[in-house]
Symmetry: C2
Subunit: 188 residues, 2 copies
């Protein structure tokens, strides 16, 4: 344990580049979006300005939205009002995805956003509503100190390749199995 820690410390000490990083949270387990919003909270604790684009929106406002919209240093955008994945209207979905992406791209061109959270972007890429090449080009061209967090299951291998930190959230056990209804506040 102490030895492993020392190795990690040495790696940290030798890691020299000060630059923005791309963090991806993927996998079938819970906690992907939550970890993104936790990073937003941390960034706000450090006085950063944050941009958020939520690419999948349920019918009711989420707790994160209610919470983070309170802060003037957060620019919060949600894709397509009342939009759900159940419409099966591919043209409408593509239009909504494109509009949300334009918002995201503007943030990725603006160095005043020190952290940009692109929540559930992976889902939009998985469905082919946006091209992963276009997203990667915008990520590569972004301001050098800007951090980006991308969430959603089924992250594209090309996106994983350009990311700095990738975590797979793997479901070990889920409350639905135990018959617990999705809870307000915790939203399993």
């Amino acid at each position: 344990m102490a030895r492993k820690k020392a190795v990690v410390d040495a790696k940290i000490a030798s890691a020299r580049d000060d630059r923005g990083v791309i963090v991806v949270a993927t996998g079938n387990g819970k906690g992907k979006s939550s970890s993104g919003f936790g990073m937003v909270a941390r960034a706000l604790g450090h006085g950063m300005r944050v941009g958020i684009v939520q690419f999948v929106k349920g019918r009711i406002a989420t707790g994160e939205e209610a919470f983070f919209r309170r802060f003037p240093e957060v620019d919060y955008h949600v894709m397509g009002e009342g939009y759900t994945w159940e419409t099966q209207d591919r043209e409408r979905d593509t239009r909504a995805a494109r509009a949300a992406w334009e918002k995201a791209r503007a943030m990725l061109e603006d160095a005043s956003y020190q952290l940009v959270l692109l929540d559930e972007l992976n889902i939009v890429l998985k469905h082919g509503y946006l091209s992963v090449e276009e997203v990667i080009a915008a990520l590569k061209a972004r301001p050098p100190l800007q951090h980006v967090v991308i969430t959603g299951r089924a992250a594209k291998p090309a996106l994983i390749a350009v990311a700095d930190t990738v975590t797979e959230m793997r479901s070990v056990k889920h409350a639905f199995e135990a018959g617990v209804r999705a809870q307000k506040g915790i939203e399993l």
Copy 2:
């Protein structure tokens, strides 16, 4: 996709119990604590009162701490001022863990806390500074609607057994490998 979603919807509809749940985030990857703090933000968005005990404390204040201490509806406790795992002083560590646990236990006996985050509790259990039986007994005796989130790698099997939702955060790729220094704000 649509069919899979329908199955999940049916599971949600048939999940009847309204009760507090235990969520565990474990594994060697990033995002465990962040997901816990994201759930805190979500709970605050729903107007809940939240208790937080951080069982591992670095030498400098974290962004989460700076951020969440702003809110009167959050009761934030950090274990042992200036405490680190490098002291190798087992007696002191055990004392600090015990004091933090007393704080946590008081929250687990108080229904006015609708969500309790026990950040890095798994590490303390792994080191044997607290007994997992004592922790599980307190979890089982807590107010029925209270949610608890427990983070840290190497979650004990006995804790996983009583949890409702367990996610393993698996490291796919880490920025240290790429030579990027730990970043203020994002803290990889």
